[in-house]
Amino acid sequence: MSNAEAGAEQLVAGEWGGGSLPYAVGSKKFGMWLFIISDALTFSALLIAYGYLRVASKNWPEPFEFFPSLVTATVMTLCLLSSSLTMVMAVAARKAGRRAAAVKWLVATIVCGSAFLVLHANEWLKLIGEGMQPFSNPWGAPLFGASFFTLTGLHMFHVFSGVCYLGVVAVATGRGKFTAEDVEVSGLYWHFVDLVWMFIFPLVYVMSIHHG
């Protein structure tokens, strides 16, 4: 071990010494965590805005029936949760050096994510077909459309970006280009997308079930 390496290790060892890896994670992973925190605030702000518009409107629409809307949303939740599980498996496989297995798990994650996108897009089309637009809808408060489309649209965009991101990671992993850390960082992003849905699902769907 060279002197420089020994010195760096000492810096890491010192609790407040700074050093090259004060958090014991690489800079990519730490960067992704910082992005996730800021993105979490974006979604929180949108959810708060949705909540405030809802509570401050006289006739907030409740267009979702238990069947089929909530059942579909539950299946979408199942897709995302299962995709998180397969993503965890992909990260574990890549860490253990099993690249082929990691690619298979990544593809499974992409399939689950795409299933979510198809179901969600289908639901959007159904709502649009019923006359829902950003600034008008047949059921009540006109801003329901704007807040619903912004919130779920931004989330859908995150899922779509995630599917593309995972596609790149899967191809690169197959070719032996990316490290285990790269796969783990993409996993962090994917789990975050899943986490956001854990708040959108109850607040937008479960709270808006139409009851006679």
Partner: protein
Amino acid sequence: MSHNAAAEHTEPASKLFLWVWFWLLALTGVEVLLGYEQYPVKLMLTMLMSLSVIKAGLIMAYFMHLRFERMKLVLTLVPALVIILCLFSIFFFPDSLRLLDLGWGR
């Protein structure tokens, strides 16, 4: 050798992840049940948000590996987020609850 032992200690097994996945599904099931039953809006919001926070905690701790990272990283990331969410709530809840009590929104 000792390095491998340490890695095994910090790397959780797939069985654990399956359990976490199972619990996330179970909590989602409870949320759907609440949606079917329908309770008064404040009670409903409290129950749903509690469940969601538990689910978010499970995802962050296990799927996002935060439980297996240094405490220093957790303390850098999580309290900042929680404090800002509290600031959001300070401005959101008094006004919103007042509107609810006035029978304005739902």
